[in-house]
């Protein structure tokens, strides 16, 4: 599946803010990115698919939007 990936916060120093990737589920996507960018290893991460936070591995559909988010630090 080709999905759109959005990166936020400190992750934007390693990844582009927005790019496309191929993956069947969110766990595979993150594993692939870690393989390509070793600096991602060990990072705390929140994942949202189509603007809803997911807490487990979820299968991806074509054109899904996957957000990769470090811990929040607003306020």
């Amino acid at each position: 599946m080709k999905v759109k990936v959005l990166a936020f916060g400190a992750l934007t120093e390693i990844l582009d803010r927005e790019f496309y990737a191929e993956a069947e589920d969110t766990a595979t996507l993150w594993a692939k990115l870690r393989g390509a960018y070793p600096a991602l290893t060990g990072r705390k991460l929140l994942v949202a698919v189509n603007s809803a936070v997911v807490t487990e591995n979820v299968p991806l559909q074509e054109n899904d939007v996957v957000a990769l988010m470090p811990p929040y630090s607003g306020g």
């Binding site: 936070v53 929040y72 607003g74």
Partner: protein
């Protein structure tokens, strides 16, 4: 009262906004208490460098949904008359205001407790990130405690 409100402010929140928001509630004569919280950028010193600003970014779509959830939960839990929240995006300098939470109610207990709960939930639940910019233009990403 539960309708969508504008939350995002480009850059710092002006002190005048606080006065204007307050003045606009004078006609609501069932209000007896207002509670406000304002976050101000601290010029923290970290390893000999001083924070001169924080640059905020957010995942807007998700943050708007989160803010709607918070608003609805707070209005169900507390007897509130109004609630307003403003959060900066972009660069806010040390000494400037980056967050303004404003709750109003007939009685003080509801206004005060709601205000505090909104502040805690915003920090915990909204996808916002702060990049601390030092006086030598290096930076680090803020971590909420």
């Amino acid at each position: 009262m539960k309708s969508e409100k504008k939350v995002w402010v480009e850059g710092a929140i002006a002190p005048q906004k606080v006065a204007d928001s307050l003045a606009s509630h004078a006609s609501k004569t069932n209000i007896g208490a207002h509670a406000m919280f304002l976050g101000q950028i601290r010029a923290d010193e970290i390893e000999g460098k001083t924070v001169r600003a924080i640059e905020y970014s957010a995942y807007r779509e998700l943050a708007d949904t989160g803010m709607t959830d918070i608003r609805e939960a707070i209005f169900s839990k507390y007897e509130l008359t109004c609630m307003h929240v403003y959060h900066s995006l972009g660069v806010v300098a040390a000494g400037e205001i980056c967050l303004f939470v404003f709750t109003s109610a007939p009685h003080r207990k509801a206004a005060i407790e709601a205000c505090e709960e909104v502040v805690e939930r915003i920090k915990k639940e909204l996808p916002i990130w702060g990049r601390e910019i030092f006086d030598d233009d290096t930076h680090q990403w803020k971590v909420n405690t």
